[in-house]
Symmetry: C2
Subunit: 475 residues, 2 copies
């Protein structure tokens, strides 16, 4: 018997951990709070990387690499930044057997060390914009950790750009937010709400932060990507200046933005079910698994030959023929369902005779199998994978709609955030936000860019409010 | 005027640093011994990564990711390993504002932490082989550092495999050595000598180490990749055991292997000349630069239109049209020559009229330009890039041959290593090796797999010797 994951209704948190471990996406490392990303999980991350990297390059960005170690004094140069990160730092005090004169911080994020370089490289408006991204590991000393969602060390990309004008930097901030939205929805089949973070939820050191927020299978929110307008905060701390066209020395305007291995956790929780993982075809390490079924050696030869023909015909599809011996087809079905492979093709002797395969969609378990003629597979399978991709996005959208409320009273808000997202008018005061957080554990996820218009009364204090915020429990 | 690099004959070391900095491959970081890899250098590294990653996957390897931090006690489990690495460790003693109970080491290499996981994952012979690679940053506290060649932090890939038998692990060690040779020669146009390292030069913790050794432009050697047969050393230290087909508990047999950002330094020093960098087309971030030449607005429109047509025709070639204003064609020529772009195409009004472009090969500066008809560019340019690729490898081979000696006496050996590589019979004794190192600064680079056969007299002590070693000064 294949292993079974804990049902979501029984214990959502346990379900998540079961899926991560049984599908061999990741494992706990022997260092507190750290994880090992196993090959299947890393292949998923590689596909996420490619989807993002392609979009960054198409919008004019280049990759580079900055040091892991940051002098402690750099972190202290931007006052809000140090306050936010000080409790989370890992500190190297010894190197090469000697105590260091100045401790080095293992980067929690790289605004400071990158500004130290930009201050050296940028001289004139001709050097701008600087559009750089880095793929790297970062460390934040978290107390409560959870595989992929919050770990001491995680992998991410961090973009850091410098511009001649405020308008250009603000435009870049939103351009990247749109890149993130497009990636999340098109590749991860994950519907997201684009919006601005409240003052208390924004990045330490930013003027404004924007995020994409997705709804998980338990109605909680996950911040799946952030894009920050940094203004001139870091430029002033590091003296990152340029000679403008008018021949004046000015500080650059900056942005930073990131998506991390959290995205893997989000994909698990947006799509997974009680059988395990469901992966969107565009990101799935394996898009199709072929399970040949035989009883005799003669049958085996025939079904394996057909399986190889299917594999050859589907050259560009990420496909595996599961010809493992000593395992029943039923075991294999469960195994690949648990691992979330979007499409299964079964080939038995009768299928060979009929010139067909039986297909079973991972997103429609129990809805029967469809016979597909061998002749048309080369066109049919890629089309079917795209159908599954669309269906997953639609299903996630419907789930989010079904778990989104528009409360008209504080009581309704408190009840709504137990189930999912609550859109509510908010006056913008941190006091109102804090009360909701204390009493319901929900926070403002963001203030969506797409607002209904008009105004209303703050759901907490009743004062006039010009914006709606999305409130939710969050990871 | 474009910047000029220091001539190699004047100061080879200065030439190297000039090229790295002026071509904007890398820069010094504000942390001692660390570097920043700039976009042009990182794009080169990305192409190296792709060339290697493709080969690893084609030979059945998968990527994964293991933690940056390793408990100090892990490093101490393999006795040779800790002895070798102890002086080079960066140590995290504080996290989240508190002193840690056990200090964490920033990984200098990952055999130990990976074995801790393999010991957990591997149960039976059915779980073997495990063929995992990781792309990661590592830290070794070096005293004397040099951009790309030796930095406190560097980027690399490290493969770690586990096998049921010694024979399989030995086979894997050599399979990867061949992958490295093929990459170095085919993609980096860098001829290498494959061989076994001597006892004193091998990896700490390995039973045997193998390397690919390349000759730099000053006759020195660079170890450009290593593949280690680890035997059961780490398996015994970490209890990495499996139940064999005979139902007996056995230790796995292991390998590890790596190529790092050093490879970038090697490419610079194998191919570069007094004009700067020369990049092999298969790895060059830009393979072709098109320089349009105009004097009037009318001419400009015509040459730019042709340049765009060339760009469109060469869709898969990594090509840039340098349409920067305010810079002379001569400045642009020098600039791209310094940056090592393999092929330049010039398009002036007369070329437009004649339906041609003028091509200039970076590897044949001063040998004239060839007119290429526009009509055939789609086929001609990729073919020309392959010609350049081959020519670079051939030139490097000839250079190595011209700087390789077969000394017959110790005096000849001492003289030979001033100029390049010396192949000499060696009895295998560390004492002889040490004497050469002390008196000439040359070390045994490796004992080539391809031996002349027969036997001779040790170049140092005159005892019978069954193997030739390559002696050279090395980075």
């Amino acid at each position: 018997m294949a292993q079974k994951v804990t049902p979501r209704s029984e214990d959502y948190s346990r379900w998540y951990t079961d899926v991560v471990q049984m599908a061999e996406l990741a494992d706990y490392a022997p260092v507190r709070g750290c994880m090992v990303i196993r090959p299947y999980g890393y292949a998923l991350w590689e596909n996420i990387q490619q989807g993002l990297d392609r979009r960054f390059k198409a919008t004019g960005h280049q990759n580079a690499y900055f040091p892991l170690f940051i002098p402690m004094s750099f972190i202290q140069k931007e006052s809000e930044h140090v306050e936010g990160f000080a409790p989370q730092l890992a500190v190297v005090t010894h190197g090469g057997g000697e105590k260091l004169e100045e401790p080095l911080v293992v980067r929690p994020t790289s605004e400071t060390i990158i500004n130290a370089m930009y201050a050296k490289w940028i001289r004139s408006y001709r050097d701008l914009p600087v559009l750089i991204n880095q793929w790297a590991n970062v460390v934040r000393w978290e107390m409560r950790t959870r595989l992929f969602l919050r770990t001491l060390e995680f992998l991410w990309q961090e973009g850091h750009t410098a511009h001649a004008t405020e308008a250009e930097a603000r435009e870049e901030t939103l351009r990247i937010l749109e890149v993130y939205r497009d990636f999340a929805e098109s590749d991860a089949a994950m519907p997201v709400i684009c919006g601005r973070k409240s003052e208390s939820e924004k990045f330490v050191g930013a003027v404004e932060s924007y995020s994409i927020e997705a709804m998980m299978g338990n109605g909680w929110a996950l911040q799946a990507g952030t894009s920050h307008f940094l203004g001139q905060n870091f430029a002033k701390a590091f003296g990152t200046q340029f000679l403008s066209e008018r021949n004046e020395l000015e500080y650059v305007w900056q942005t930073s933005w990131g998506v991390s291995t959290r995205m893997v956790g989000g994909i698990i929780m947006v799509h997974g079910d009680d059988q395990g993982l469901i992966l969107p075809p565009r990101l799935a390490p394996l898009q199709v698994v072929v399970v040949p079924i035989w009883r005799s050696e003669e049958e085996k030869a025939a079904v394996l030959e057909t399986a190889r023909q299917v594999q050859a015909a589907l050259g560009t599809v990420r496909l595996k023929v599961d010809d493992r011996e000593g395992l029943t087809p039923g075991f294999k079905f469960n195994d690949w369902e648990m691992r979330g492979v979007p499409l299964r093709l079964e080939i038995g002797p009768r299928d060979v005779a009929a010139g067909q395969v039986l297909s079973a969609r991972r997103d429609r378990l129990g809805e029967g199998k469809e016979a597909l003629p061998l002749a048309g597979l080369r066109e049919r399978i890629p089309a079917l994978l795209e159908e599954i991709q669309r269906a997953l996005l639609e299903r996630a959208r419907r789930f989010r709609e079904a778990h989104t409320a528009y409360p008209e009273s504080y009581q309704e808000l408190a009840a709504a955030v137990e189930q999912g997202f609550a859109w509510a008018w908010w006056c913008g005061s941190p006091a109102c936000e804090d009360r909701v957080k204390e009493e319901t554990k929900a926070t403002t996820r963001n203030i969506p860019l797409e607002q209904p218009g008009g105004s209303g009364r703050c759901i907490v204090c009743g004062a006039e409010a010009r914006q709606m915020a999305v409130f939710a429990r969050a990871y």
